[in-house]
């Protein structure tokens, strides 16, 4: 796991106002995805991926594979 991640350029991100989650739209591939945590929690995931449990890590790995997030160096 890298030290942290960031949302890739060109991604549309919408945090829903009910705090139920964040949805992503890849404007290049038109793929859509979402995570069921508020934006503030998701940002913590991106900043501290080594603190995540296996399930949360799987979510980030999937977003990484889909190009929604990238390594932050």
């Amino acid at each position: 796991m890298p030290k942290s991640y960031q949302i890739s350029k060109g991604m549309q991100v919408h945090p829903f106002s009910d705090q139920s989650g964040v949805t992503f739209f890849n404007t290049l591939t038109t793929v859509v995805s979402s995570v069921n945590v508020p934006l503030s929690t998701f940002e913590e995931w991106l900043n501290n991926p080594s603190d995540l449990d296996d399930k949360q890590t799987d979510v980030l790995t999937k977003l990484l594979d889909q190009g929604f997030i990238t390594d932050k160096f």
């Binding site: 549309q12 919408h14 106002s17 139920s20 989650g21 038109t30 859509v32």
Partner: protein, 290 residues
């Protein structure tokens, strides 16, 4: 070949057919929206054909083919299903070509200028619920697709008949004996199918848009009283995208439309076995809610 036009706002269809069952049913179902005196130079949105398959098939197990501007999206069906293939073909035509609307596979019903959309998979009881509500004070905008103007919450009517299947056919004829029905298309891939004409009121208001105030995913369950599950916005979004016909084709504008819509709507999943209970819930908790 018979030739007729269906004026079904926001689209005009010119249809050619050599199967009498198609024109007879279209005339019966669409009433004043059906005309036969056509000027071929008129602008129409789509030119469709429902015709017999050629060769020996015409005499031995005759089949009907659907063509949209000379393209054939489906395999031929039995000739007794020719009217159903026209209706399904019109659905396909709009879903496959229209990019000025975000199109969701969904029923749409309204009270006043407030609409609820009902995205649902086959077998959910969506069309039976639609038929009931459309005959209980709700305005039918569509049984099949929500045409949403991009970057708004406005849904445009596309008033067509309600497609009923199997056991629902007998129920609908029993509940609404004065309504107009097509002939039955037997043994389709969906089972027996019939189309129930929209009401005169729905047709009279077929250019009047409505504001979407609710998104409800219905599921009929004979063993369940009304169970209501509020849906959070994220889950509503993913389900709605799953039911969108043209989300990827429209792209970013579609994404913006759907997320902004969901920020404004009340969203539920319901299981039900009593249509009147559903009607009361929708009216009180969504339409009349502030």
């Amino acid at each position: 070949m018979n030739q007729f036009r269906l004026a079904l706002p926001p689209f005009l269809f010119d249809i050619k057919t050599d199967l009498p069952i198609v024109a007879e049913n279209a005339k019966n179902i669409y009433g004043d929206c059906y005309t036969e005196l056509l000027d071929e130079n008129d602008f129409v949105d789509y030119r469709l054909t429902v015709t017999h398959s050629g060769g020996i098939r015409r005499f031995y197990k005759p089949q009907a083919r659907f063509l949209c501007d000379e393209r054939e999206p489906f395999k031929p069906l039995n000739a007794n299903q020719a009217y159903a293939i026209l209706e399904w073909g019109m659905n396909w035509t709009v879903a496959a070509h229209e990019l000025q609307y975000v199109i969701i596979h969904s029923a749409v019903l309204a009270k006043g200028d407030k609409a609820i959309i009902f995205p649902a998979p086959p077998g959910s009881g969506k069309s039976t619920l639609t038929a009931h509500l459309a005959n209980s004070g709700w305005r039918l905008l569509s049984d099949e697709m929500a045409l949403i103007l991009p970057k708004t919450n406005q849904v445009i009517p596309f008033v067509r008949p309600v497609c009923l299947k199997n056991a629902s056919i007998g129920l609908a004829k029993q509940w609404f004996p004065d309504n107009v029905f097509s002939t039955i298309a037997r043994d389709t891939h969906k089972g027996d199918v019939i189309h129930m004409a929209p009401s005169k009121q729905a047709i009279e208001q077929n250019t009047k848009s409505a504001s979407i105030v609710g998104i409800v995913y219905p599921q009929y369950n004979a063993d369940e009283v009304l169970n209501i599950y509020p849906l959070n916005m994220t889950d509503t979004f993913m389900q709605l995208v799953h039911n969108a016909f043209n989300f990827t084709a429209i792209g970013e504008e579609s994404f913006d439309t759907v997320v902004n819509l969901i920020e404004q709507t009340k969203n539920f999943e319901i299981q039900y076995n009593d249509l009147n209970e559903v009607d009361a819930f929708l009216t009180e908790e969504i339409i009349n809610a502030e």
